[in-house]
């Protein structure tokens, strides 16, 4: 583990985080593009989110009269936690120094911190939409978080570690196996990811309809660079879940050791996996209708139950006797 402290490893980790944040808008745009095509609409250009972000960063920030310092700090905390969470996840290189410092439980904690400030800022201005959005976001989060932790525990039991790098290396080094626990954990993580990133059927990322929106209601009062940071944070979070699914359950191709060839191959493999995952997500979003808010509890109970059965089937079927 001595090479974890070398400057090169840190440099690679920083570059990987920068790459993560840089591809996040592209991934969100890709999902939007496939979805538009599936619905016979003309898609926006692939680079549109970058233009939107540049435009928003250049605009001035308008603050409500009732806004407190919390409102001004929140975008930086929300985006900061999202980027920090992204830095913990192995994207193309497994051995990163950050993974030794923050494990997957810290990752869930970072999400919770970002969400807390998001809800706080939405409540801060005192508009009804902000309050409504905060209440809904917290309802979804309170149900999604235990399910997410169950998935985390299942993975941790399979790999005997909560360290993301170790979990991925464990999967890479083992012979190909059909594990019911991982299969069910994957299904649960997909459901949780859909709920946490506000996709259909839990929330519609493209709507500004008062009665249905969750995420859009929270960021209604933000403008200028604050809004840009919030948008970026949401895109990074979506990409985090996609990368988690791709790298935890199908890590093949990822570079175990730094090397130009291995890194390039890992980048190509990751691009293919993300493109496929994005297309599947867009297809699912097109096929499924948005559900009533009160059904979300059942949706997440199913996710929790799947994760629970995954964990139990590890104990019952797979654990060494």
């Amino acid at each position: 583990m001595a090479d974890h402290l070398s400057p090169l490893a840190w440099l690679l980790a920083l570059a990987q985080t920068a790459l993560f944040v840089a591809i996040a808008p592209l991934f969100a745009s890709w999902v939007k593009r496939v979805k538009s095509r599936l619905q016979n609409r003309c898609p926006p250009p692939l680079l549109q989110p970058y233009r939107d972000l540049r435009r928003l960063f250049a605009k001035e920030v308008l603050l409500a009269e009732t806004a407190s310092p919390v409102f001004r700090v929140a975008p930086y905390v929300v985006c900061g936690t999202a980027v920090l969470a992204a830095s913990v996840i192995p994207l193309v290189l497994v051995a990163i120094p950050m993974a030794a410092m923050a494990d997957v439980i810290v990752l869930v904690g970072l999400f919770a911190l970002g969400r807390f400030f998001l809800a706080l800022a939405a409540l801060d201005v005192g508009t009804p939409f902000g309050g409504m959005g905060a209440s809904r976001e917290m309802t979804v989060a309170a149900l999604a978080e235990p399910a997410m932790l169950m998935v985390v525990f299942t993975l941790a039991m399979v790999a005997s570690s909560t360290n993301l790098s170790t979990i991925i290396l464990h999967t890479l080094q083992q012979p190909l196996a059909l594990r019911p626990s991982l299969l069910l954990a994957l299904l649960a993580l997909l459901l949780i990811g859909i709920a946490e990133t506000g996709r259909i059927p839990v929330d519609n990322p493209a709507t500004h309809l008062e009665l249905t929106m969750i995420h859009e209601a929270l960021i209604l009062e933000f403008s200028g660079r604050h809004l840009a940071l919030m948008e970026l944070a949401a895109q990074v979070k979506l990409t985090i879940y996609a990368v988690l699914v791709a790298n935890l359950f199908a890590p093949w191709g990822i570079a175990a050791q730094p090397g130009a060839g291995a890194l390039l191959f890992a980048a190509a493999a990751l691009a293919a996996k993300l493109a496929l995952f994005g297309a599947l997500l867009a297809g699912a979003e097109t096929a499924v209708a948005k559900m009533r808010l009160f059904r979300v509890a059942t949706f997440l109970a199913v996710a929790f139950t799947l994760a629970l059965i995954g964990m139990l089937s590890f104990v019952i079927l797979e654990a060494p006797a």
């Binding site: 059942t298 059965i309 139990l312 797979e318």
Partner: protein
Amino acid sequence: MSGYLQLPLLEQAILTLAALVLVSSFALLAQSRVVATIHVFAWQGVLLALTTALVASDSGLYHLYLSAALTLVLKALFIPWLLVRQARRLGILRDFDAVLRPGVTLLAAGAVVIFCYAVAQPVERFSRTLTHDAIALSLAVVMLGMLMLVTRRKAITQVVGFMALENGLFFAAVTATHGMPMVVELGIAFDVLVAAIIFGIFFFHIRDSIDTLDVDQLNRLSESDR
């Protein structure tokens, strides 16, 4: 290194399918519409038949292929078809039916699985089959069928719960002792078939006498306060 990884892929597939049978039991509990419940029950039959066929090819016991075929025809095709037909004739195909909130029932089901695991531990030590790990799962499928019987109000979904319970017993026989003797299995299969038909007749009798399939109405004895 866990022993699970040394198993051949076929046996891993059997255990994965066994876990999916358990998932289908949970799915049965979570459904609130009559028609969706019957569909999930049919899928459980398909999974069960697939598991049995894989166990048959793994153990080389050819009579299990026959059991698998019987399960597929009876539990995945014929009984669901019969139930859907009866529900349509009774006009309750799209009705809602759940006593507790699905989330609460699912949590109770999780507790039941843990209980079954604890109970099945000593049994698993005596079984010599390759699938002895799945005995706890089959016991859980039986208990979840019972839980479904308890939490449902409509007679037709209770019948689905009863059939799911029988699925669990069959599953237990396959995993613990590689199936029962063929005579017994045939007997049970025809019992289940006859039961499904008799239940169907009873649905119409219940509806004729109390105008609904909601069995909570059967708690009251007097006819005067209706």
